[in-house]
């Protein structure tokens, strides 16, 4: 079982490495046509950046022993403390690949690069994924009749704590985009009541 899945994942890992390199270098403009929204003129928004210094994961993990047993981690406290993504049933290696920490892993065992994390999300959240591809879930900006930018799952949802709270505008990779916030949004001021408008 295990050897086979490893063997099958080797090409994917290689691909993933290429993709990650692309992600780290130039903006990922090329997308696989099969999975993401298809109409021409769609532009992917810039994903929020990784936490500083955390990527590539293999920088640390290469020298660590690979342990696939589910357990309480003694490190990655920054994720553990907020982790709230069906925490009872899920843990790191449901999504992160044991063999190659620089890619994500689908339920099938296939790996995907971080830039295509929506494929991972879509495995469980199929309805949202379908809506997102049609432009019904999530947000698009630009032209209703042409080129538009669509935001990714990770622009609005922290994968470790995916419940939507809010977003803030950031600049990532020299581009304006949005990133999820930990706290809820504060509403803008209420309208002025009619009786408060006098002259």
């Amino acid at each position: 079982m295990r050897p086979r899945s490893i063997r099958r994942s080797i090409p994917a890992v290689l691909l993933g490495l290429v993709a990650v390199t692309a992600h780290a270098g130039a903006p990922a403009s090329a997308r696989p046509a099969s999975t993401a929204p298809s109409p021409i003129g769609l532009v992917e928004a810039e994903a929020p950046p990784f936490s500083e210094g955390i990527f590539p994961c293999s920088a640390c993990h290469a020298s660590l022993e690979k342990n696939g047993a589910r357990r309480e981690l003694a490190f990655h406290d920054e994720q553990q403390s907020v982790f709230s993504h069906d925490a009872e049933h899920r843990w790191c290696l449901d999504c992160h690949d044991l063999q190659d920490r620089d890619v994500l892993r689908l339920a099938s065992g296939a790996t995907v690069p971080f830039t295509e994390s929506y494929r991972l999300c879509g495995q469980c959240h199929g309805d949202k994924s379908r809506d997102w591809r049609a432009g019904v879930h999530g947000k698009r900006v630009g032209r209703w009749d042409g080129a538009k930018t669509y935001f990714l799952c990770v622009n609005c949802h922290d994968p470790h704590s995916p419940r939507f709270k809010g977003v803030r505008e950031i600049v990532s990779n020299g581009k304006r985009t949005v990133a999820p916030t930990r706290g809820y949004l504060k509403p803008e001021p209420r309208p002025v009541r009619p009786e408060e408008q006098r002259r």
Binding site: D131, V136, R143, W144, G166, K186, P187, E188
Partner: protein
Amino acid sequence: MSANRSRPPSGPVTRRAFLRTAAAGAAVSAAACSGAPGLEAVLRKHFRELSPDELRRDLARIERRNRERFGRATHVTAEGPRPGVEFGYGLDLSRCVGCRRCVYACVKENNQSRRNPQIHWIQVLEMEKEHGVDLAHADLYYEADAVPRPGKFYFPVQCQQCRDPPCVKVCPTQATWKERDGIVVVDYDWCIGCRCCMSACPYGARHFNWAAPTLPPGELNPEQHHLGNRPRPKGVVEKCTFCIQRTRAGRYPACVEACPVGARKFGDLLDAESEIRRVMETKRVFVFKEELATHPRLYYFYAT
């Protein structure tokens, strides 16, 4: 300015224009005592009766007036509806968190009066989950440190761009009408300020300039449409136009782009691939105050 606009042939224009000139004397003296908008505006014909030449002059007049009022160069167009396009709007109530970002994006984009009088084309109502969509338990003036508040949901209301708009029906001067792409517009230079349309609108979507708008010159949006966001005079009615200056140029409305949760969907109802059509085909949508048979183009839905 650009005057690319398709209009129906006009009939008794010349006679009307003649009579209007003849009667101008009385009107001019009346204008003098009510914050004179200038002879040109008083003598001007109804927007839909302007010849292409007159329209160009009218756009130039507005740009000139903008410069006088705000000391800034502006670009005013009268871009017409696109053939074969009918706009539709979707609002996902299961997403809206009531943050009012749309309200202020709209104010900024559409040059609304800031304060005293304050005009908001979008009004976000806070409602109780316990009661559902019930105006008897709706609060427009909610204040909170964080939204959404527990037990509440949010219901933004703006012009529903009705297919059978009661406001258009009651207007005594045809100063408001429905364009072919579905947008209900107002000719600010023709409106007499009787406010019949405000009584007739079931959505509180029409707003009156109770005084000259307060609009800081620095915040003026210079990209303007004649029937949309150009600065309004006092004493006339205004309303949401689906950001006519943006959408007729192919862009999303400002509220759609400002919404942080992606609750707002916009597109061409006649395009089967558009987002709004996907909403209508895959979600259960409803329209506000359906029983009044206004047949809105704004559809509310719950994506989940």
